[in-house]
Structure formats: structure tokens, C-alpha cells
């Protein structure tokens, strides 16, 4: 028998090796372990949320959205030339009709000079 024939026999043996396989037994107390795992799952809700937020795709999307919101807010609130003109004219009005209140320092000096 040559090498290839030996190999062919080994291949057939391997393919047929699982023909009369018996089922493996599960480790004892499976139900207890399932219940323990279910309870553990209930406790770690915050862990699950943290895990979700910590996922690169979610974190990156969140970061992009924050940057986008910031850019939008800046662009929407950017003052136009008209707003600037209105602001400037109102500032001029304030300057023109403003009543200058003397500081305590000036009042004190005036009182001393009167004496």
C-alpha cells in the first residue's frame, strides 16, 4: 500500500469517526448557574450603558454630533452687519445722553476743595 492509499484510509476513518458519537454530559447545576447569570445581568445595567457609550462607534458619533451642534450654534448666532449697525447706533445714543455719575473719590475731593 502506498502513502496516498494510507492517507485515504485515514481520511475515511476520520470522516466516519463521529458516526456513533455519544452526547457529552453537561456540568452539574446548570440551572443554578443560569439563575446566577440572570441576576448578575440585572445588576449590571449601568455597566451595560457604560459599555454601550464606550463603544468606539457610539463615542465617535456622539463626539461628531457635539462638534456639529457647536458649529451650528456659532453659525446661527453670528451677528450680521445690520445687527452690528443697530448695536453701534444704540451705543452712540447711550454715549450721547449718558449721565456721568461722579465717583466717591471725586466727591471727596470736591468737599475738601470747598473747605
Amino acid at each position: 500500500m502506498n502513502k496516498q492509499e494510507d492517507i485515504n484510509k485515514l481520511i475515511d476513518d476520520a470522516l466516519n469517526s463521529a458516526d456513533d458519537i455519544k452526547r457529552a454530559a453537561v456540568k452539574p447545576f446548570l440551572l443554578t448557574r443560569i439563575h446566577a447569570r440572570m441576576n448578575k445581568g440585572k445588576e449590571s445595567l449601568w455597566e451595560k450603558a457604560g459599555w454601550l457609550i464606550g463603544r468606539p462607534a457610539v463615542a465617535f458619533t456622539g463626539l461628531c454630533m457635539i462638534i456639529l451642534i457647536n458649529i451650528t450654534v456659532v453659525l446661527v448666532n453670528k451677528p450680521s452687519a445690520a445687527d452690528y449697525a443697530v448695536e453701534r447706533s444704540s451705543q452712540q445714543q447711550v454715549d450721547e445722553f449718558s449721565y456721568t455719575v461722579a465717583t466717591i473719590y471725586e466727591i471727596d475731593n470736591t468737599q475738601q476743595n470747598d473747605k
Binding site: 502513502k3 485515514l10 481520511i11 470522516l15 469517526s17 455519544k22 457529552a24 446548570l30 447569570r37
Partner: protein, 191 residues
Amino acid sequence: MDQPELITQLQLGDESAFTKLVDEYQDMVYNTALGIVQQADDADDITQEVFIQVYQSISSFKGDSKFSTWLYRIAVSKALDHEKKKKRKKRFGFVQSLFGGDGEEQVHPVEFDHPGIQAEKKESAAALFRALKQIPDNQRIVFTLHKLEGQGNREIAAIMNTSLQAVESLMSRAKASLKKELNDYYQKNIT
């Protein structure tokens, strides 16, 4: 308690029905997972995950397929997910080891010794399980469900949500792929 009644009781949240379900189907789920992942501890983890999923989503079972088919589907899907996670972990471990970490120690690939194989066939079966790891997932699932779980093509088609012809084709491709893998292995290891 017959099966439809068991499912109704489960849908009502009956704890004793869940205990009965685990007792009845644990071997089926465990052995399906074991055939796919080839690790006793991993298969045990998957079995727990499958029953938790069943408990949480039993209300979505409408009875369109057999309950065992639905259960097999969950078991196969969980086992494949587990394998993907393990592969990711292995890749991450490799990257960690490049940077001087001990990532390589996190995964220990060992030769699988199925406890249900007869002593005189252990060596041949080890070669078969090694080859099974090398072939595409869908071929592996078909072969595993047929050889290890004794499922017929019609049932496998229902589990995999595909046609009978597709299962027959997958089975024939699985055998061809396994022959090729085994041939390569024996060519290298037989002097």
C-alpha cells in the same frame, strides 16, 4: 406537561416550566455548542446564554417552526457569535503581545477531545475536529448538525432557514473541504 403547554407556561413566566425546559433541552443545546466551539467551558457558557435568551424572548416564539428548531437556531447563532468574539480577542491579544503585553496568554488553543467519541476513534476524531475548524461556517454547521446531532437535511434546512437543495450542496462541499484539509494534514504528519 406536553410541549405546547410548556411553551404557554413559559410565556406566562412560570419558573417550574423553565426548570423543565432546561432539564429537557440542556444536552441538545450543550452538544450543539460543543460541536461548534470545541471547548467544554465555552460550550457551557453558550448553553447558559441560550437559555437566558430563551427565557427573555419566549414571547416572540409564535410556533411557526418547531420549538427544537428555534432552540437550535439560537444555539448555533450564539456559538458562532462566541467564536467571532474569541477570534477578535485572539487578534487583540496578538496586537497586545507586539507591544510587550501578555495578550498571547489569554487564548489557549488546545486539541479537542470530544468525550462522546469511542476510545479507539479518538485520534481520527481529533483530526476531524481540527479539520472542521478550517472549513467555512455554514459547511461546518451543516456537518456538525448532521453528524453530531443526527439531524436530517430537512430539519437542518429549517434551522439554517435555507432550502433543502442548499443544505445538500453545503453537505457535499463540507465533505470535500474536510477531505482536502485532512489530506493536507496527513501529508504533513505521515512519514
